[in-house]
Symmetry: C2
Subunit: 122 residues, 2 copies
DNA sequence: TTAAGTACTAACAAAAAAGTAAGTATGCGA
DNA sequence: TCGCATACTTACTTTTTTGTTAGTACTTAA
């Protein structure tokens, strides 16, 4: 839960208003969101498929991150009224619009991580 | 301080190893880093210049975020042995190499934020 | 002589994010 | 009828991040 009247919350709002980059970080930042988006870029997936595809994620965290992505309009949740239940997650158009950006971030990250390993090995 | 043996810390390490995107988020994510990088892309700046340019940041946080950027090799700290002291911060080559990515994130963020405001106004 | 400016640091407190454990309802196969 | 599978939810604890306050040492201007 957020406290509306904390300096922390006010600072975040302030930055989100002024800085598109911070806004992006706010939307796609979060421990498991990169992994979720990465998987969904390949196509729709069921809840438990995602869970198995992302090692280490707990149910609570997976749901929480999916809900946040849904709130921000990147992910759509489709519920099929079946038994056993079936819920599929897929990217919205807005979600898909992140692809180029995410690839850019992925490429930069992979490159940078390599450099760090070279330095650490010396 | 990080606890090396927490699930939290282990999960983060796991993700950083496997996902370039998560690595990038780890390096440029943090409340004030977007603002710092944005300012330094224009050229070198003194500590207090940065502080005045970033409304809301406290000294402790500004220093902490600068140190992290320095550790990751994005920012260089230049100390001039003068009185009063002068310390200038500037982007390294690696820091500059983020420019295209940051602009991409900035553009996406600005676009998405606009959409959200349109939706909220209805 | 007092205040302001320089660039910080340290000890601490508050807030937010992440993780743990157990429980929900339903149906199917053994 | 026991356990497993589906897709979660709730209450709670731990860890991490962010913010607060006061202090450092030096110089110049009022």
């Amino acid at each position: 839960m957020r406290k509306q009247d904390s300096t922390n919350a006010r600072n975040e709002e302030l930055i989100l208003r002024n800085c598109g980059m911070a806004y992006t970080l706010h939307v796609i930042g979060g421990r498991w969101k990169a992994s979720i988006l990465y998987n969904l870029l390949e196509g729709r997936m069921r809840y438990n498929e995602l869970r198995r595809a992302i090692p280490g994620v707990s149910e609570r965290m997976l749901v929480a991150q999916l809900r946040e992505l849904e709130e921000h309009g990147l992910v759509k949740r489709n519920v099929f009224p079946e038994v056993p239940p079936r819920v599929e997650y897929e990217l919205t158009e807005l979600g898909k619009s992140t692809e180029a950006m995410l690839q850019c971030m992925s490429a930069w990250g992979n490159m940078h991580r390599q450099k760090e390993q070279v330095v650490a090995a010396q």
